[in-house]
């Protein structure tokens, strides 16, 4: 699924690049940010709406770290034969516990081609979601829980 190219102007870039964190928690946060950008609050809200509708932004709001709420966030992979792809994909994507799902391919013919992240409110929820996918698909799920995090900072500047 390639995203449609969307024209973003300099202000959109400043919004995307400058708002990937530190959104203020105060009575009128959009007005505060708009002031910093030199635009009106209405303009900022309209631009955010447009960027979300065009899926240049997938979300705007708090990003929760479910592990800190007693939950779990686990990467998992499956080896899905091409003939079975749509059936298995439908089963995996339908689960609300699947936060994202990617098709991946390597040049070395790595058999693990479906990679998804399970986000659940409890550790037990991970096992239940895995069982649900395995029972529905008839294929094994390989969880890759993180043993140690060395670095995470998913902030990317606009290049489009």
């Amino acid at each position: 699924m390639r995203e449609p190219a969307l024209l973003v102007d300099a202000i959109d870039r400043a919004i995307i690049d400058g708002l990937q964190g530190d959104f203020p928690i105060c009575e009128r946060p959009y007005a505060e940010v708009a002031g910093r950008l030199g635009i009106s609050e209405e303009d900022l809200l309209a631009r955010l709406q447009r960027l979300l509708a065009a899926r240049v932004l997938t979300r705007f709001g708090p990003m929760f770290q479910v592990e800190r709420m007693g939950g779990a966030f686990v990467l998992a992979a499956m080896c899905v034969p091409d003939a079975d792809w749509q059936r298995v994909r439908a089963i995996v994507d339908a689960l609300p516990e699947v936060a994202h799902n990617y098709r991946r391919e390597s040049e070395r013919n790595c058999p693990f081609n479906m990679w998804f992240v399970l986000a659940t409110e409890s550790e037990a929820g991970i096992d239940a979601a895995i069982r649900c996918i395995e029972d529905g698909s008839g294929l094994p799920v390989f969880p890759f829980p993180k043993l140690k995090e060395y670095f995470v900072e998913m902030k990317l500047a606009v290049r489009a």
């Binding site: 928690i25 709420m69 994202h100 060395y150």
Partner: protein
């Protein structure tokens, strides 16, 4: 769910904001009205969750394809367990690395234990960054692979049930 961490009101706030913050002039007041608590309490609770790391950050989540990062490579490396912490920290410090984790191997099919995500505008850009990682790891890595994403099948983020 660990109720020592989140009480029922915090949980209601997660539910009300997991798909996004209201795009209105006073978003925290809007949430307060939805949940039935004062706006000051909404702001205080969100600030506390941010401080505790329950909220990693508040802001925009770009679709990396749409902003020009059309090549997203998960590089995976087989490094000795005894040196992974030192090597993982060094690779994680490279400015182009967005995620760097130690994860379990799944032998025999999967010998890799260090997962390093690299984003770029093309596969060749990602591969040249992967070559930098390979140079840094040297003989510390026994083998590696790069898995490029060819399709985003789903991307919603956390969705807890009401």
């Amino acid at each position: 769910m660990n109720t020592a961490v989140l009480d029922a009101v915090d949980r209601a706030l997660v539910l009300a904001t997991q798909s996004g913050l209201p795009l209105v002039s006073r978003p925290y007041h809007r949430l307060a009205g939805q949940i039935g608590i004062p706006p000051e309490e909404v702001m205080a609770r969100l600030s506390r969750m941010l401080q505790k790391g329950v909220i990693r950050r508040v802001g925009a989540v770009p679709n990396h394809y749409a902003i020009g990062y059309t090549a997203n490579g998960m590089s995976v490396w087989d490094v000795p367990d005894e040196s992974i912490d030192e090597l993982g920290a060094r690779v994680g410090a490279l400015d182009f690395v967005t995620h760097c984790y130690h994860r379990p191997r799944r032998l025999p099919a999967w010998p890799y234990n260090l997962f390093v995500m690299v984003h770029g505008s093309s596969r060749s850009e990602v591969l040249s960054k992967v070559a930098e990682i390979a140079a840094l790891l040297g003989h510390g890595s026994r083998s590696h692979d790069v898995l490029f994403s060819t399709a985003i099948l789903k991307k919603t983020g956390l969705r807890i049930a009401p």
